[in-house]
Amino acid sequence: MLVKKHTPREPKLRNFGVAFLVGGLIGLLAEVISMILKNCFAFSTVEAGLIVALIVIGVASLFTALGFFDSWVSKCKCGLIIPTTGFAHSVSSSALEYKRDGLITGLGSNFFKLAGSVILYGIISAFLLVIVRLVIGG
């Protein structure tokens, strides 16, 4: 069809590469922070993991609020969205978007506009996996 002929091809391989590198870098950074927490502050692995997640979420939300996370996302593709950073970003960008529409009708009801599906399907798939584990693992 005509449309297909004239549609420019997306540089998918490049996008994958960028996303892979950026996502990997965030993971690496988080791992480094986790190591520091474990070795210098004597946190347990579980505690360190929690604190790292909090830091990453906090930083991502802060960057969204300061207004430059969105241009990073456009450049870095999904590398920034797939880690927890993306979840934090989707919530804080929705919050910013609807804050003028009132606390209940705006911010409240739209807070999880983008993240809602992640939460819902996250819970459902966790539930299903638990059942699978119960059946197989006993």
Binding site: L2, T7, E10, F69, R100, K113, L114
Partner: protein, 324 residues
């Protein structure tokens, strides 16, 4: 098919305001420029209302008119219930007709106003159109700060507002004829490729216009389509050639002409303000264009219909301008 000539309608004057990104684009003449997307207001919606008021106030002031001289205010924008136009129109004691044809609203407002002026029902009309990148993003896509990655077929909604003054009084721009388009839907359902959805509508209106008025494409010095973008323009040319056996040589697309390559606007500009801004601030400055056919194109979808996997119907309205 509705193609008709106007006897005596002139575009007396116009006034434009453009956003920060459009300031550094290919535009060669600017009336007013916004330094940011808020222009002193609290929300983007209030900012767009202010943009419309600025262009109406300045147009009336520039021509030494009083509010009571204007018989009709006609126009629209991209937001739900064309709220922006309603909220700016409420500030004037002028009879108001709100229109919606998405990005074809500019041509639609010219046609409505011109018909009423030509038939002698009213004397002076102001047409108003605006779009604001961030109100449109919010309306049709994701939250503004989300910045979701977009494909190269996507277009960038232009920030700007345009008002035009129409009457029977002689001026250098004459509205010569017009064609009201039919909605066309060839099954494109990708809201990130609106150029592809709108190209067949543009082709249909161009072909109808030329056939009804017994002209060929070379009659016009320029056929200026609204906001197909660089991808959509190529589809239009190809589609006209395959389906209507017509070669489009003197064609430009406002969306493709507006932004610099270095600006992150994907396939070019879109939005109701895109066509008039490029027409008034770039095309009309080029004296070689005497007969111009403007073909404003609009995608008539809503976020709900797209989410329900609906296809995107489109429309295009054409207005022929004669410039002295």
């Amino acid at each position: 098919m509705a193609s008709f000539k106007f006897k005596n309608v002139y575009l007396n004057d116009y006034y434009t305001v453009v956003g920060p990104l459009e300031k550094n684009s290919h535009l060669r003449r600017l009336d007013l420029v916004m330094d940011d997307y808020y222009i002193g207001e609290k929300t983007f919606e209030q900012a767009e209302v202010k943009m419309q008021q600025l262009v109406i106030d300045n147009l009336i002031g520039k021509n030494n008119l009083a509010i009571s001289d204007i018989d009709l205010l006609v126009g629209g924008d991209l937001t739900n219930q064309i709220a922006i136009s309603n909220y700016s129109a409420k500030n004037y004691n002028i009879p108001f007709l709100g229109l919606y044809s998405a990005c074809a609203t500019f041509a639609e407002s010219l046609i409505v106003a011109s018909c009423m002026i030509d038939s002698g029902k009213i004397k002076k009309a102001i047409s108003i159109t605006s779009s604001h990148n961030l109100t449109a993003e919010r309306q049709f896509r994701y939250p503004v700060e989300y910045g979701a990655p977009k494909p190269h077929t996507a277009t960038f909604t232009t920030t700007g507002a345009v008002s035009t003054l129409l009457s029977k009084n002689y001026s250098k721009i004459r509205l010569e004829s017009a064609t009201i388009g039919v909605p066309v839907d060839l099954g494109v359902n990708d809201a990130n490729n609106m150029g592809a959805a709108m190209a067949p509508a543009a082709a249909s209106t161009i072909a109808t216009h030329l056939a009804a008025l017994k002209r060929d494409a070379n009659y016009y010095d320029l056929i200026l389509t609204g906001d197909l973008g660089c991808v959509g323009s190529e589809i239009l040319k190809d589609y006209l050639e395959t389906v209507y056996n017509m070669k489009l040589k003197k064609h430009l697309d406002a969306g493709c002409e507006l932004y610099l390559d270095s600006q992150p606007t994907y396939a070019g500009g879109s939005g109701p303000a895109c066509l008039p801004i490029v027409l008034f601030n770039k095309i009309l400055l080029n004296k070689k264009y005497k007969k111009i056919l403007i073909v404003a194109t609009g995608a008539l979808h809503s976020p709900t219909t797209v989410n329900q996997r609906g296809t995107i119907p489109s429309i295009a309205h054409a207005v022929s301008l004669e410039v002295e």
